[in-house]
């Protein structure tokens, strides 16, 4: 078997592999990265766009449950119409934001999961949080924007947050019909900002 035959064999061995992702989906995902870059300077991250208006509140938590700051007492999933926080078995925290509502409750839920976080849905976190740059690789380790079942989900791994670093999660109204844009910024963890 000469080199040409071997090369052909290797090429043909994977010739049946085809990408299954439509280009529209790629472009949509790329738009989120681009818009985020414009809206959240000095941070590494991306953007989630979620459409539709949900009504009412669906709580998977037990009756009377409110995030209390104790991770052990919190169920794996807290779901409101506006957002969902799901703590996974490996410690990752998945966040899906559909509406810019109840930021304080979202913030408390994330802090109860051990994540030093500040949440604001006004498009401006004021001056309580000071941006702290981290390298792109570290940012990718900390959080990612993934698509699951048609929704964009932010997955955060609190265990790889460098000491003294927190996350500032900012929501921006992205249109009159309901879509929202979410940016994540690494910040100095402080009592005023991340609790």
């Amino acid at each position: 078997m000469n080199d040409n035959e071997l090369s052909t064999m290797v090429r043909e061995s994977v010739a049946g592999i085809r990408s299954s992702t439509p280009v529209d989906q790629i472009i949509s995902r790329g738009h989120t990265v681009r818009v985020w870059r414009r809206r959240v300077p000095a941070a590494a991250g991306a953007l989630v766009v979620a459409g539709g208006a949900a009504l009412g509140v669906t709580a998977l938590a037990p009756p009377g449950h409110t995030p209390s700051g104790k991770a052990a007492s919190r169920p794996a999933v807290v779901q409101l119409a506006a957002w969902t926080v799901a703590k996974q078995a490996n410690g990752d925290i998945g966040i899906t934001i559909r509406q810019l509502q109840h930021p304080a409750q979202l913030q408390a839920t994330l802090r109860a999961d051990g994540l030093p976080a500040h949440v604001s849905f006004t498009g401006n976190s004021g001056t309580v949080c000071q941006p702290r740059r981290v390298s792109g690789d570290i940012a990718l380790d900390i959080y990612r924007f993934l698509e699951r079942n048609g929704s964009d989900v932010i997955t955060i791994d609190p265990s790889v947050l460098p000491s003294g670093v927190g996350l500032n999660i900012m929501g921006f109204p992205s249109g009159s019909s309901g879509p929202v844009a979410i940016g994540i910024q690494t910040v100095y963890a402080s009592r005023q900002c991340t609790g």
Binding site: S13, V23, V33, D157
Partner: protein, 172 residues
């Protein structure tokens, strides 16, 4: 109007390059599901920086490099779930690791997975993405001579690995 033209350019690039980039990353890391996710992410980043990427001398190489870098970050993050299969294990489990039997040749994929990671990347870039030695060296950040050495060793190893299986296949 300008945005629309750029979008059409990108869409054309994606349609022409997506399969090739995906195959390259599959051969590099061995897991088709992970490769699909990494390539999707790389193409999304390519679109978000399309003005720059479209002027790149080898945009497909840019996408593959970005996908492989994202894979390294993912590996660092998910240390408990290593996405690159153990070559020894891959050898025992042909056509596993996400690449379905209908889409890949299990024996050749297993032989590829037995190669060291760097040799596999060189094989993927040279044979699947059809890059020349110089461009492959640029993508991987190594010397052209090193690329040639990896390629030579990889081809020799593949030949040794696959020859007995071919001979066996040809037996009555």
């Amino acid at each position: 109007m300008v945005v629309r033209t750029q979008q059409q350019d990108f869409a054309e690039f994606y349609r022409s390059a997506a399969d090739e980039c995906l195959r390259t990353v599959v051969v590099s890391i061995g897991d088709q599901d992970t490769a699909q996710e990494l390539v999707d992410e790389a193409f999304a980043r390519a679109w978000s920086s399309w003005r720059t990427v479209s002027r790149h001398p080898a945009p497909k190489a840019w996408v593959v490099r970005t996908a492989l870098n994202a894979g390294i970050s993912r590996w660092r993050r998910q240390r408990r779930e290593v996405s690159v299969p153990d070559p020894a294990r891959a050898a025992d489990l042909p056509a596993t690791g996400g690449a379905s039997a209908s889409q890949v040749d299990p024996q050749i994929m297993a032989a590829l997975m037995r190669l060291p990671a760097r040799q596999r990347e060189v094989v993927a870039l040279r044979l699947i993405l059809d890059l020349d030695t110089t461009r492959t060296a640029e993508v991987l950040g190594i010397a052209p001579g090193t690329v040639m050495a990896h390629m030579g060793r990889a081809m020799a190893a593949l030949r040794l690995d696959l020859q007995p299986e071919l001979q066996q296949e040809n037996r009555p």
